[in-house]
């Protein structure tokens, strides 16, 4: 176990360090200007300076992403459950979901920001929820339709009720698909929460900090916030993976 952990952790860490050293050498030896590519040491210095602000921005964007993710995923899962049960809901939703899937968030963000006013977090959460909805809905519905004919026959032979069939066969069978959707959605949630901040509104999140730092030509600082954004994405992705692992074998 311990050596396995080492084998999984050490190589990527070594690669990361090598890349950082190479980056530093490239900037120093190549005399590259900070507005093109700041040195890792410069970014690290900035990281130290802005850490308190970075932390609050991290939490602000993280909260938006999390709330949007949960709301969008819950809505998507319940809609998928309905659609798998009632074919008219399926017929109603399929074109709507196709429409939602092609809505560009860059087009939607300014509209929603205006709608809810510049001091509200709501537009960002709504955007995250919309973006999250599509992959979770599509994957969950696919999972719910994946019931093997032999399982269907078996449950019919047992004269099981619809609810029993859902609880013992359909929903547990769909769980891996739900998590495929959630894994995609967790990264999308962070990305869209950050992008949503590019279009005005409150100046409290990572996205706003990145744009304002870049606008002030403070490139190492902008990069420090980008680093924060990467960490946020990794946290979300790892958390969904961990939940998936915990749930997958225990469900009945």
């Amino acid at each position: 176990m311990r050596s396995a952990t080492l084998r999984f952790v050490v190589p990527p860490v070594v690669l990361g360090l090598v890349a950082l050293v190479a980056w530093q050498l490239l900037v120093v030896l190549g005399d590259i200007q900070p507005y093109l590519l700041p040195a890792p040491t410069a970014i690290l210095t900035q990281l130290g300076l802005v850490l308190p602000v970075l932390w609050t921005s991290f939490l602000a964007t993280g909260a938006n992403a999390l709330i949007g993710l949960i709301a969008g995923a819950l809505l998507a899962i319940s809609m998928a459950l309905l659609a798998s049960r009632l074919s008219f809901i399926d017929d109603l939703l399929t074109p709507v979901v196709a429409a939602i899937a092609v809505v560009p968030i860059v087009a939607l963000a300014p509209v929603l920001t205006t709608m809810y006013g510049a001091t509200s977090e709501t537009p960002r959460r709504v955007i995250v929820a919309i973006v999250v909805f599509v992959p979770v809905f599509i994957n969950t519905l696919r999972g719910l339709r994946q019931v093997l004919p032999v399982h269907r026959d078996l449950m019919r032979a047992y004269a099981a009720s619809n609810w029993q069939i859902s609880r013992t066969v359909t929903i547990p069978g769909a769980l891996p698909y739900v998590f495929t959707g959630l894994n995609i959605a967790s990264s999308l949630a962070v990305i869209s929460a950050i992008v949503a901040e590019y279009f005005g509104g409150l100046q409290n999140g990572l996205g706003s900090r990145i744009t304002s730092a870049a606008a002030n030509s403070a490139y190492p600082r902008a990069w420090a916030y980008v680093f924060g954004a990467i960490i946020l994405g990794v946290v979300f992705y790892a958390a969904t993976l961990a939940i998936e692992k915990a749930v997958s074998r225990r469900s009945t």
Binding site: L148, V150, H151, D153, L154, R156, A157, Y158, A159, A160, Q164, T168, V169, P172, G173, L175, S248, R249, S251, T252
Partner: protein
């Protein structure tokens, strides 16, 4: 249930509708009686409707005309009353449930109290020789072991009738023979009637009291061969004269003529139309 007749199939026709034309006649005017405690195999080439017949008895499909009764009740009522246990060619275990939980499934669905459930599951696991694998998941078992779990599950509610659709079809020959011996033992212990679909002549002869030989297009019963090789069916039976004689009789019934007259490779009943 003191019914002397487990399954009564009377003049059953099953036509599957197709997009164009009159539909496919899977079964035409089939009648069959299975007595309580009797082991009956359905054998025939693909397309002879043997699986369809089994599905009609299980009320997984409905006949186009004719009637199916199970222990004197319409098949539909018998299904609602859980009068039969069923096993399919693929074990059909739920992969996210342990062996124990899979066997427990029908008991749980029918709200059997937890303590009774546990005792029954333990009993069934020792019956199929899987007590050591209670906590394993299906993907950790071999195909033969999975099929044993499926058989234990079909026996969970001590049914007086077992419906089996090629349950050993996907197993290798050695596992298959061992499973057949086990099935004979289990049937002797439980006294259940069995309707067993197979395409293997030796399997049908080894297991059955009677072998129902069917022919395709449309599915019909060609002949019913009495084999009944007696109570003590062990591995030795496979080398006895009576076994070979049974195999020959079923084969001849399948081909509709003595096999000596035909070349060896004409073993397929499909060739006869």
């Amino acid at each position: 249930m003191s019914h002397a007749i487990a399954v009564q199939v009377s003049h059953v026709t099953k036509i599957f509708p197709v997009k164009k034309g009159d539909g496919v006649t899977a079964l035409a005017e089939v009648s069959l009686t299975v007595n309580a405690g009797e082991f009956v195999s359905l054998i025939g080439p693909s397309g002879c409707g043997k699986s369809t017949l089994l599905r009609l008895i299980a009320d997984l499909d409905q006949p186009t005309s004719g009637a199916v009764t199970v222990f004197g009740k319409p098949a539909h009522q018998a299904r609602l009353d859980q009068d039969y246990g069923i096993a399919f060619q693929s074990a059909g275990l739920l992969p996210w449930r342990t062996v124990e939980a899979n066997i427990e499934l029908p008991l749980q669905l029918h709200r059997v109290p937890a303590a009774t459930r546990r005792a029954r599951v333990a009993e069934l696991m020792s019956l199929v020789g899987l007590s050591d694998f209670a906590a394993n998941f299906p993907d950790q078992l071999s195909g033969g072991m999975q099929q044993r779990v499926a058989i234990a599950r079909s026996l969970a509610e001590s049914p007086e009738l077992l419906l089996m659709d090629e349950p050993f079809g996907a197993l290798d020959e050695m596992t298959r023979e061992r499973m057949q011996t086990e099935l004979v033992r289990i049937c002797a212990e439980t006294g259940a009637a069995v309707v067993f679909v197979t395409h293997s002549i030796p399997e049908a002869v080894f297991l059955s009291d009677r072998v129902v030989v069917m022919s395709p297009r449309p599915g019909r019963i060609r002949e019913i061969v009495d084999v009944a090789l007696g109570e003590k069916r062990g591995e030795m039976l496979r080398e006895e004269e009576s076994f070979f004689e049974g195999v020959t009789r079923v084969r001849e019934a399948l081909h509709g003529a003595p096999t000596e007259a035909r070349p060896d490779n004409a073993v397929r009943g499909v060739d006869l139309r």
